[in-house]
């Protein structure tokens, strides 16, 4: 990759300028996502890098509950600097500890060990995910009692359970309905195809606030005797239905696109060879469009997993999801716990993206195989 030999100075400048511009846009796209990762290991409750974070050093150590006494032992034991230095380090750490105690009222955890690094990085915000909301945060960490307290009382774990529960059921619903609809829409004889397609895609287009408000009012008036006599607001079912609705367009779009590349003569071949339509569907159509369905389902999953507006309107405290918890965190008391959650979410996104890419390539490979 180099400019052609006949390029003049202007062309050369343009050639390299253009590439620099493109790369900086890519950087603009990716940097904000990457930046949350180091920030989430900040010792201090700020959304920014501290000068210590750039002073890397070798380190050994372990995680201990964060308190003045452990700080003192650890600093004295792990540090090789002079007494004066130790005292300074100690004071500084205790100051930080007190400050964070005031701010979130929680016992944190610190990387206890070698001096320089322990001041810069910590996984206290990750521990916060487990400890925030615990009834008894003084318990010794990682013991059975601690885990059970954390599992049943941590706000973040509670929201995580909700998020996964809601997303899984919403995805199942939207993948089923969306796939069926996509199969219908790609039939040659589908009447009013464009109209139906437009209708089914619209939940993605209509502003989420309008959908949420509409559903909020609607759920107030719904009355399902025995099960939901006071409507669907503040109920899991309501949120699942809302998220399924928001996820279906993605399934419809991806599965329709997959079916577009689907060689129809395979269906005919199956029928011709004597298979009943059901057999053809399960033995031939399904295996071939499955990558498309899974991609669509993953889109639907991430849509539900990210969704916050509908949850704000129609979820109670009991149904809080991860995004709802983050929303509250950003609006109310902003601290790097959000960043550590964000980091985890980014890792999940990377996994989902990798899966979708893999499926897409697999699908392309399979399709590329059939002779054209």
């Amino acid at each position: 990759m180099a400019p052609p030999p006949y390029a003049g100075t202007g062309e050369r400048v343009w050639y390299y300028g253009f590439r620099t511009f493109c790369c900086s846009i890519l950087l603009f796209l990716i940097l904000p996502i990457v930046i949350v990762m180091p920030l989430s290991f900040n010792v201090q409750p700020y959304f920014s890098f501290t000068s210590e974070m750039f002073g890397f050093d070798n380190c050994t150590g372990e995680f201990r509950p964060f308190s003045p006494s452990t700080i003192e032992t650890s600093v004295r034991a792990g540090s090789s600097v002079s007494d004066e230095g130790v005292q300074h380090c100690l004071n500084e750490r205790i100051r930080i500890w007190e400050k964070t105690q005031q701010e979130d009222g929680l016992a944190g955890t610190a990387w206890v060990g070698d001096g320089a690094l322990s001041e810069a990085f910590s996984i206290r915000w990750y521990m916060n995910i487990f400890t925030k909301g615990m009834v008894n945060p003084e318990l010794e960490q990682f013991t059975g009692a601690w885990w059970s307290d954390s599992w049943s009382n941590s706000q973040w774990l509670h929201s995580l359970r909700n998020s996964v529960f809601i997303a899984v059921f919403a995805t199942l619903l939207s993948a089923t309905l969306g796939t069926l609809a996509a199969l219908g829409l790609s039939q040659a004889n589908m009447p009013y195809r464009n109209l139906f397609m437009g209708l089914l895609i619209s939940p993605m287009i209509v502003p989420i606030i309008i959908t949420s408000v509409g559903l909020f009012f609607f759920y107030n008036t719904v009355n399902i005797p025995y099960f939901y006599p006071d409507g669907l607001n503040f109920k899991y079912l309501g949120i699942i239905l809302a998220h399924a609705l928001l996820g279906t367009p993605f399934v419809v779009i991806t599965v329709t696109a997959t079916l577009l590349g689907f060689d129809r003569s395979l269906i005919r071949a199956g029928l011709n060879l004597g298979a009943r339509p059901q057999t053809v569907f399960f033995k031939i159509i399904m295996p071939l469009i499955l990558p498309g369905i899974i991609s669509g389902a993953l889109f639907a999953f991430i849509t539900s997993f990210d969704e916050v507006v509908a949850v704000i309107f129609m979820a109670g405290y009991e149904q809080r999801t991860i995004p709802r918890q983050m929303w509250a965190g950003i609006r109310e008391q902003i601290n790097p716990t959000i960043l550590s959650v964000a980091t985890i979410l980014v890792l999940i996104s990377i996994c989902l993206l990798a899966t979708v890419e893999m499926l897409r390539r697999r699908g392309e490979r399979l399709r590329g195989l059939s002779p054209q």
Partner: protein, 378 residues
């Protein structure tokens, strides 16, 4: 062999079948056709002539808008495709990409609930028949075009159907492979005795393989006869032009002398003799069809009843014959094939000569003005 022609002994019968896709244009217009048991029948025609639609109706993938199709005396309009028991080789083979070759072949047997050992034996036999015994474990994508084609044929035959349909099965292959596969399919047909309905737009394919050829144009069968008849005795201008090379001379009938001869006044004024085949009567327009190899160059006196002046425009040396383009009357695209026989008189570009023909070689046909796309683009 095939087609003894006794009434009722047919594999397939189309009765007054019509088909329209849009409710306005008929792509198949009132089709009546009987296909004998064991016959190799080819539907030949340019694209859009309705031949593939006929095949799809027979396989059950397109409903006929009118008429009835019979398979072994039974009407099948209301039989779904999977219960028709007709084998089919698709244009792009339609091998299931997610199954191995053996799985593809086993599929029709499995859906028929055949037991495992029989299935395996049959699959093995079918693969051996197409000389792909070692390829059972491969995916279709790992095979060459010719191999995929053979798998497709084997799959269509593995469940031993009485009738096999082939929809331009050789279209995706290169010329050499195509010719080889033509013979292989022909031999399989001869060995198994199944009825084959074959669709193609390639006339040489049709002439090589078929017992009978139905030439389609504009939704109508133009002529249905054996390959020799089709070439030697075309009934219609369309058929004469579509099959093989053909010289056209336009004129008007001036006199009919019984069944063997008529006189035609050509548009440039000369009067020639021809065989009346498909003409309306004296005073009507007609098109004479003359095969290039039947034209006599420099005929001896009295050899040909019809003789015309010609000028040699272009000579192309083709080894076994010399292809000669001549100006005859007001046409300059009159083609004559001069065989490269011992001692034939050398021809020169620009030279003047005479051409002639025997009356039965010039067939007076209907006046056809439509353009013909012989579909030989590949």
């Amino acid at each position: 062999m095939a087609g003894n022609g006794a009434s009722g002994d047919y594999a397939v019968r189309f009765e007054a079948v019509q088909k329209s896709y849009d409710g306005e244009i008929l792509v198949v217009k009132d089709l009546n056709l009987d296909i004998a048991r064991g016959e190799f029948l080819t539907m030949l025609g340019p694209s859009g002539s309705g031949k593939t639609t006929c095949l799809m109706m027979l396989a059950g993938f397109e409903p006929a808008t009118h008429g009835e199709i019979f398979l072994n005396d039974n009407p099948i309009n209301n039989v779904p495709p999977h219960r028709r028991g007709i084998g089919m080789v698709f244009q792009n083979y339609a091998l299931f990409p997610h199954m191995s070759v053996a799985e593809n072949l086993a599929f029709p047997l499995q859906v028929r609930k055949m037991n495992k050992s029989d299935t395996e034996a049959r699959v093995k036999r079918a693969l051996e028949m197409v000389e792909l015994g070692a390829f059972g474990g491969r995916r279709p994508a790992q095979l060459s075009g010719g191999q995929q084609q053979r798998v497709a044929v084997a799959r269509a035959l593995v469940f031993e159907p009485d009738l096999v349909l082939m929809d331009e099965p050789l279209g995706a292959l290169d010329k050499q492979l195509r010719e080889q596969m033509q013979y292989e399919i022909k031999h399989i047909h001869e060995n198994l005795g199944v009825t084959v309905v074959y669709v193609t737009h390639d006339q040489s394919e049709a002439l090589t393989m078929s017992n009978r050829i139905a030439v389609f144009n504009d939704g109508v069968i133009q002529q249905l006869s054996s390959p020799e008849d089709l070439y030697e005795h075309p009934d219609k201008s369309f058929v004469a032009q579509f099959i093989g090379e053909n010289n056209k001379l336009h004129g008007t009938i001036t006199k009919i002398d019984g069944k063997k001869s008529c006189e035609v006044a050509l548009d440039d004024g000369q009067t020639v003799k021809a065989l009346p085949v498909n003409i309306a009567g004296v005073g009507e327009k007609t098109m004479l069809s003359l095969r290039p190899e039947r034209v006599v160059v420099n005929p001896k006196r009295g050899e040909c009843p019809s003789v015309m002046d010609a000028k040699i425009e272009e000579l192309i040396y083709l080894g076994d014959h010399i292809r000669t383009r001549m100006r005859v009357g007001d046409h300059d695209d009159f083609i004559v094939k001069v065989p490269n026989t011992y001692g034939h008189e050398p021809l020169k570009e620009g030279a003047k000569t005479k051409i002639g023909w025997h009356t039965e070689d010039a067939r007076a046909l209907d006046w056809y003005t439509g353009t013909i796309d012989p579909g030989m683009d590949d």
